[in-house]
């Protein structure tokens, strides 16, 4: 027994000693085109059609491609399709397929795979899988067929009614039609291919050498999961992570000189969303008062070191094609005016309300704390109620059972998608906003095929949200990414992705 204990003690000491000297070893292994990216969310599915979380999609982006994909400035460029055209009435979309695309399992991509993939996300397969995220926008599709055009395979998508905004949704991943193990061993056409995944630990991918496009420079990429930004930051400081996309402002300040910081902007509408059907927010004056009482510049200064963009309506600042920049000036910080409005609304001494904030999003929680202190100055008490994400989805989002909440809304590259939350009576309208004027502008914008008119209508819809003070639209937060010196090419997109094919090691 004694000897046994002694051996164990020796082993423990040896293990401790080993852990002390192992660090040098791993660092060397990283050169030669291998990169570790730190992420703070576990992946919710490896099947791209079932993935929900933005944190999953940004990883799978490297494995999968759609018919088209977004370039860094938000334009849609051909991917699996070499070209596409939309008929003038917006009723027919035609995609000419590339003939040199193969899946990671060696199978050649055919029109059949594309039709299968599109039907799958449109919910139009004969046996549908309830876990697949059906794109509501695809419900206007009446038919998907293939044809030959100059000896090339083409896909023709026919719609019931004209819609020129659908093209953004054709970024939906193309998967092989007869492959059943997508959930555990994903197979796509992207610049990287899947190697392994361990729950709560990470995902490993390697370069797809038979990629039809520009081959990535990196040979291997590991997405390493930490349970919080703090934990990931510790790993970053220890040199275990090369790229970390979720740096907070105070972390950025204490970053060591092994790294540099890239600053971008999130394609996110962060807001203090007020339930328009619940007292006291059923009164427009009260909502306006809250808008006047919140100092967005201070929020930016405290949370982003002044970076990020203030917004005043439901479209994020980076979506320049449809962003109404006038809305941001509708309510400038004016606590006196806020008090005045409160008095008119019958709340001369202010009031108390609760704000449900999902506790897993540190950023929103911190925003809530800043806002609570600002509202205090005009006599409004905001009680922050931290809730779990699952409860948020259920109570706030699906049941609209809340007084207010702080969240960030993201979207596909379509203005109709980011504004869908405000249509009267819609299930997604979790703030219960109601405005005939908004509905009319929205529906007309969706129906028109004239780009100028479409833009004008969407700008008007945004102005409605601002004028009615539908909620407090706060900001598109900045995004700070730590990149190890020696790596170049980190690129921001208006959609949430980590494009590893653009990264390379400087020699």
């Amino acid at each position: 027994m004694k000897r046994f204990l002694f051996t164990v003690l020796l082993l423990t000491v040896a293990a401790a000693a080993l852990s002390g000297c192992k660090k040098g070893g791993t660092k060397d292994g990283k050169n030669g085109g291998e990169v570790v990216v730190g992420i703070t969310q576990d992946l919710d599915s490896l099947d791209p059609h079932k993935a929900v979380a933005a944190g999953t999609k940004e990883v799978l982006y490297n494995l999968f491609e759609g018919l088209v994909k977004s370039d860094p400035s938000g334009n849609l460029v051909p991917a699996v399709a070499e070209s596409y055209r939309i008929s003038e009435d917006g009723k027919t979309y035609t995609f000419v397929l590339r003939s040199d695309v193969t899946f990671h399992n060696g199978k050649k991509l055919t029109a059949e795979d594309v039709i299968y993939s599109l039907k799958r996300v449109a919910g139009k397969l004969e046996t549908s899988d309830p876990e697949v995220q059906v794109l509501a926008a695809f419900s206007v599709i009446s038919d998907i067929t293939s044809a030959k055009e100059n000896d090339k395979d083409t896909i023709v998508v026919t719609l019931q009614e004209g819609n020129t905004e659908l093209i953004g949704y054709f970024t939906a991943s193309i998967v092989p039609c007869d492959y059943t193990e997508q959930k555990t061993k994903p197979v796509g056409t992207g610049p990287f291919k899947f190697v392994s995944y361990t729950p709560m630990s990470g995902l490993v991918m390697e370069r797809n050498d038979s990629y039809y496009g520009k081959a990535p420079s990196l040979k291997k990429v590991t997405f390493s999961i930490s349970e919080s930004t703090d934990a990931a930051f510790l790993k970053l400081q220890a040199g275990e992570i090369d790229i970390f996309p979720y740096l907070t402002a105070d972390q950025a300040a204490q970053l060591k000189d092994k790294y540099y910081i890239e600053v971008g902007e999130m394609s996110l509408v962060q807001g203090l969303f007020l339930n328009n059907k619940v007292k006291p927010f059923d009164q427009k004056e009260v909502r306006q008062a809250v808008n006047y009482a919140i100092d967005k510049d201070e929020i930016l200064a405290i949370l982003n070191e002044g970076k990020g963009k203030k917004i005043g309506s439901g479209v994020y600042a980076g979506f320049t094609a449809y962003y109404n920049e006038n809305c941001v000036n509708t309510y400038s910080y004016d606590p006196e005016k806020a008090k005045q409005l409160l008095k008119e609304a019958g709340y001369p001494d202010g009031f108390t309300f609760t704000c449900a904030v999902p506790s897993n999003y540190t950023y929103h929680v911190q925003t809530a704390e800043v806002i609570a202190s600002q509202l205090k100055k005009v006599g409004i008490t905001m009680e922050i109620q931290l809730i779990e994400w699952a409860s948020w989805l259920s109570d706030v989002y699906h049941d609209h059972n809340h007084q207010s909440t702080i969240i960030g809304l993201d979207s596909q590259l379509a203005p109709s998608d980011i504004l869908k939350y405000y249509i009267s009576g819609s299930k997604k309208n979790f703030i219960n906003y109601e405005s005939e004027e908004f509905d009319r502008a929205y529906n007309d914008a969706l129906a028109t095929t004239d780009p100028a008119q479409k833009k004008a209508l969407y700008l008007k819809a945004q102005q409605c949200l601002a004028d009615d003070a539908a909620s407090v639209f706060l900001q598109s937060p900045s995004l700070m990414v730590a990149v190890r010196k020696g790596l170049t090419g980190y690129t921001f997109y208006p959609v949430y992705v980590q494009d590893m094919s653009a990264i390379s090691e400087q020699k």
Partner: protein
């Protein structure tokens, strides 16, 4: 007969525990279907997935289905990860066991020498200083000890990289090297308790008559301690260690969060957040069985001692 009764009551406790967990889960807002489909799903899609997952059935029906599966060795499937629960266990359980095992070894290795030493020289400066150190360590909860260890041993002395956990199936020695530190965090407060317990058990023995007899026979103090006092105090200490083990199992869950260990504890916390019923049930079942069986064994041990 008594043993049979005991086993039946232990079994009933496990079943009751799993049923209560099941009930508690059905009361929580949100379910696995909602958690899985997120913000873009329509109510119809959620309903369809609920139907497929069998969430629409009565709680009793679902519980019956689950317990039926367990009896045939099938723990079900994780809705979150789309893989069998047993597969997730095979990834996480060994890590947790290594952590718990190391913590136990550290407790035994550290507490026995100190316990003996303090009992040999009660009232000495060392003993009094020891009591002070012990009190301090006992007052520090494991998770805070974990943070202290991360900051001092990890970031300060660079003995390890906090968060850079390596799973057992990747590299066993690196895994064990990393787990030494969370194990230390779990063990230290328990070490203090065990030292104190052992010391007082030994001192109680020391006051008994036979010690004087032994002394008069010319035995040295160390010899008396080792040959007579320790064996007599051991029974009570082993019982105490049994309790400690079940506390280690609970303590590891918290500490896994602090150190980012890919173990059962972290899986449990994640699964609760995702409403992944089958995984939560399986983990609660595992912990329940460990604690209940351990208590049963300890009780049996005490009874045997009394007889």
């Amino acid at each position: 007969m008594r043993a049979v009764k005991k086993i039946v009551s232990m079994f009933a406790a496990v079943v009751a525990l799993s049923f209560i967990t099941f009930l508690a889960f059905s009361v929580l807002p949100g379910d696995a279907a909602e958690a899985k489909l997120g913000t873009n799903a329509t109510p119809e899609q959620i309903e369809a997935l609920r139907e497929e997952m069998g969430l629409n059935d009565n709680v009793l029906v679902r519980y019956g289905r689950w317990i039926g599966g367990v009896c045939t060795g099938d723990l079900g499937k994780s809705e979150r990860y789309g893989r069998p629960v047993s597969e997730l266990f095979s990834v996480t359980l060994p890590n947790t066991l290594i952590l718990a095992g190391m913590a136990f070894v550290i407790i035994v290795v550290l507490s026995f020498p100190f316990g003996l030493l303090y009992a040999r020289y009660p009232g000495s400066i060392g003993d009094r200083a020891g009591v002070f150190v012990n009190q301090t360590f006992m007052a520090i909860p494991a998770f805070f000890m974990g943070i202290l260890i991360s900051v001092i041993l990890g970031l300060g002395l660079n003995l390890f990289v906090p968060g850079a956990f390596v799973s057992y199936d990747e590299d066993l020695s690196r895994c064990a090297a990393y787990l030494f530190f969370p194990a230390l965090a779990v063990a230290l407060p328990k070490v203090s308790m065990t030292i104190r317990f052992l010391r007082s058990a030994l001192l109680t023995e020391k006051r008994k008559e036979y010690v004087r007899t032994a002394r008069s026979k010319g035995l040295g103090e160390w010899e008396i301690l080792r040959k007579h006092l320790l064996p007599n105090a051991l029974a009570a200490t082993v019982t105490f260690l049994g309790v400690v083990v079940s506390e280690i199992v609970a303590g590891s869950i918290v500490i896994e969060q602090v150190f980012g260990v890919n173990g059962l504890g972290r899986l449990l916390v994640n699964s609760v957040a995702n409403r992944d019923y089958n995984v939560v049930q399986a983990i609660v079942l595992y912990i329940g069985i460990v604690v209940i069986v351990l208590n049963g064994v300890i009780e049996a041990f005490i009874q045997k001692e009394e007889e």
